[in-house]
Symmetry: D2
Subunit: 346 residues, 4 copies
């Protein structure tokens, strides 16, 4: 059995990693760290998993660092990941990082977006962006995966075929995103206090959410030219799910068939990206709890407007599921191991 | 006291009309009709209003038609309004219609969008579109108000100043709308069954929701040229509220100041449209239960992208509140009579 | 116009007081205090009320103390109310306190339940428990009202007629209560963080919630003997509302008619307590946003089991609505002034 | 691989059976029936499971009856199960019935509760009540399992140790239950229409819900004497979960230790019943999506009041999970096969 540790295990992505890895046939979770809850008995810190975490070490990250493991999932705040990844990698342990620390190819961009100096710039070149649908082969060979942000995962998967095939104009792309509250993390603040959220919707993150440069980076690489999207995230009264509704303009000679073909070419063989049938639109409930990303693209030939929609569970395909998928590629497991559970409906 | 009847009173807009009119100092509700619930005692059909509807007649519309009233609110399905409005008007009674029957200036457009023949085309010319912020004076003189659809109310108020002042390009306007479930009415269907909605979000109404032509009609009039927006509504797990996030491209010479001035010019003196301060974005919770429409507009000079956002309570400013506002104008009441209640928060 | 101040105005009961008092025809809000949000402009601190609070002073409590007002609502944490009430009363200003500080007749009980020394024990004797349905006349004469806790308001109103008329046994009374999250206040904590609450229900407060002694005090007074209920509160995924389902055993000779008569005797003329028809049970949605308390009592003659159910909006009848009702009695206003708004449905 | 069919697969318990059985290593789903959705392609009828149901037959029950299977799950309305179970059993196929048809030992009781004549009374004697924690051995030998109702599962598991060990009085037991909306099934009705449910709570089913006699039957068997509980179900604004808060009076000589021992004796070795630590109370979120039943019991020695609380996911332990657990016992699989997935949190 491959031994894994999760650092930052009491956040929502940590919980979700536990849930997924408990169903992984090749893995044993041996250590969990938490800075905030490490004083609690493990059965209280992880109440839903009571009885399922026997023999797992639990404590602050410093205490867990000596555990003998094959891979570490870092579900840590940005900058913290960068400060510990190097040491872990140096011990020959693979790292799957869910923070933003290794997602940017250009360090100054990271530093300006996150307002901090990068702690281990030398590692950035080793990292592979953790979206297997685009970077499957590099992920097989890397020792450091940088799992995408939740919004980038949804938006990139919605738009990638259109940009990679040159079917839409670079200008004027809009990604209007709707997210559940778990995307905001587990730290209680007024903005996520139950009565402030329930029953309403609001945009946030204007003028610029920090996921936008990450999206632009990957879409630009896909398109082979500079992409600068308009991105507005919205907070919805639900726990899980991101729906990305993306608007673009098709090139002059593009036909509906071209768009269909582009999605089929890129996703036809993907296990986790499901192209919706012609009369179905993605819904976050259809993917909840699963690693699926449902996509659909609608094209109005007359106006040349393209609407590409994707739905993911932000904690699975938008975080911990993609992380496990990367881990599987890095370790040689079947790509869907630990990720086979069906969506949770209703 | 002005005597009013509400036809179709057991739907959500009917309930909301009752709630608002019960606080109207110049009005007495004298008759309520319902086709579906008229067998119930009035206190059971309107359980929340138990004790507040003494001496109000209640029955099927046919039974209520002989009541002596000064105005009738029609909270009826489309086509039904058209079939009864003429007779009511002929008795000198004012009509405030919440259906789509009198919203379209071009009858063939109505007929193609709703897939029916118009029952009283001769009345269409008498109707005034019930958005007081645009049609205040005509509403003062009309006997027939056609209250806007909920999405049109939100989208038109978000974009009107930009188009009326010629600040944005006609092409490529997107309105991404998020609605609570009450907008779908009170008829139970699988799509609005609690477990199917709760915890998720989905787009619907593609390729074309029937509110789009209504929006296009009014925006085209505002702009003085043909507007053909891209409109995608989404169903959210909440009861009330519409948030419209609208995307457009500013004209070449437009500055941020111009946009600010446009909103101030059109809404600076409006009682029910609140321009958000610079660092605040509209949230449906801030307007819930009230007739307010909160608006904000953000402009990125470099990309010339404009983002206009509005938030309304779909049952108030998006339906029954606008209806009462029209009624006040038609009857000579202060425009905010019955509409002064503050938002309901949290 | 009577001038009022609200101290602690940025909590949920403060917001609700503002909402209600804005519709009160005899009142002008002149001062609002907040310790936490006083640095914000008033329109940001009270975003939903933007535009409705012109000319209102806003700042920390210390700054507001010199305002010339006729009455002060204290929406403050317990112990803070006690520390300021005396000085306010000494200036001839009436005080309506929403904290627990003046609810207990026996100071040692208060001190043991809340774990603090009472700051102004001398005032306790002047206070009247703010439930007008029971203490209407004393409230008319007092200068200090102690508004009940939200659970006590619901439970006492459910059981009062049964105990006052001696219809149920003192032993074995159970009050199983279900509350919305706003009852927990506006301070963000993990237990009220959106993703931790949404989609689930849990009991809390065992072995003993601090509202239990308050309930026992009032029920014992009603019964004329010692009552010691079993009280379990539950946290529900909703913003507002308390439903109290109370279980008791009827005395040996009690008939259904006696129970019916008891409720009619005590509540038949009450404006805000609505006895449900025979085939209707209370629902929090039927009272939401209003000062109503809906009650129903079911009796099974064979087993002598009695089930008394009440539903209130915890922020209205369970806090700010009762506070305004007390204020009206204390100031000589009609008891329902500012409280006439109909429930908010759906 | 064991071949199974699910009849009534498009209801919520049907969906949940599919989700669980897709993770069962010994099972292949070969046929799914639906009366209402059989005209749809299988990928639309089961949108969340798109891509996971290849080679599965789908149609109306009549069409599926000839499929060669080893076991059939009946997720059908009551009376329909009874009308098809006999024929299936006669072909040597095992039946796991989720309806009420075979839960009652006394046919006249079933007939009076459900208001119908039993269609196959001769089969009743063969059925075993499908609660493995109580009927494990009989379930191993039966060919017909009658899976408990969702409320009975929660209430019986909460109270069983207390009654089996004679620790509480037979009289005055109260079960106050809180349920998510999925318990009401997938048929859209006004009572489960999203805006009617969201944001509120209400009791229902008084004077007598049909699960009460089922609970009484099993509790009476446990106690060895007649039990007649007071049972009030409540509808909560959430999709999944039942919380049962049960109140009883301990016998005169009962100590806290006795109660603790009773739970440990009956559940200490159970895989799916988790006794909460001393300072933890059950929460439906801690069991969501899993087959766990979390239980806790609190005892106040002075008043002799006992509070026993249980939490289940109504669609798993309260229906489809117990069904799979029964199936495993009947077919010789490990009892937790297909049921190992961890709770879904948050």
């Amino acid at each position: 059995m491959t031994k894994v540790a999760i650092y930052g295990a009491t956040g929502y992505t940590g919980f979700e990693l536990i849930r997924l890895l408990l169903s992984h046939h090749g893995v044993r979770i041996t250590a969990l760290s938490s800075e905030q809850f490490s004083d609690l008995p493990i059965d209280k810190a992880f109440a839903p998993f009571r009885g399922k975490l026997r023999k797992v070490a639990f404590g602050r990250m410093e205490q867990m660092r000596s555990e003998d493991v094959d891979a570490v999932f870092l579900a840590l705040p940005h900058t913290v990941s960068a400060s510990v990844a190097g040491e872990i990698l140096s011990r020959g342990i693979r790292v799957i990082d869910l923070s933003a620390d290794f997602r940017f190819r250009r360090i100054p961009l990271y530093e300006s977006v996150y307002g901090v100096a990068h702690k281990t710039p030398a590692l950035v070149g080793q990292a592979v962006y953790g979206l297997p649908e685009i970077y499957r082969n590099p992920l097989r060979k890397t020792r450091l995966a940088a799992v995408p942000g939740c919004y980038p995962a949804a938006v990139i998967l919605a738009l990638y075929p259109l940009l990679a095939e040159g079917l839409i104009e670079a200008k004027g792309i809009v990604a209007d995103c709707k997210s559940g509250v778990s995307g905001g993390g587990r730290g209680p603040t007024l903005g996520f206090h139950y009565p402030e959220v329930e029953g309403g919707v609001r945009p946030y993150g204007l003028p610029q959410h920090r996921h936008k440069p990450e999206i632009d980076q990957e879409l630009s690489l896909a398109a082979g030219r500079n992409i600068n999207i308009t991105f507005v995230p919205h907070l919805l009264p639900m726990v899980r799910g991101i729906l990305a509704t993306c608007y673009a303009t098709a090139g002059a000679k593009v036909a509906g068939k071209d768009i269909e073909n582009a999605y089929r070419k890129h996703y036809g063989k993907e296990q986790f990206v499901r192209i919706c049938p012609a009369d179905v639109l993605p819904s976050t409930k259809d993917v909840s709890g699963s690693n699926f990303c449902d996509v659909a693209c609608r094209f109005d030939g007359k106006s040349r407007r393209v609407i590409a929609v994707s739905a993911i569970d932000n904690l699975v395909k938008g975080a911990s599921g993609s992380a496990v998928q990367c881990f599987n590629l890095m370790m040689g497991f079947p790509e869907d191991e630990g990720l086979r559970s069906a969506p949770f409906f209703p």
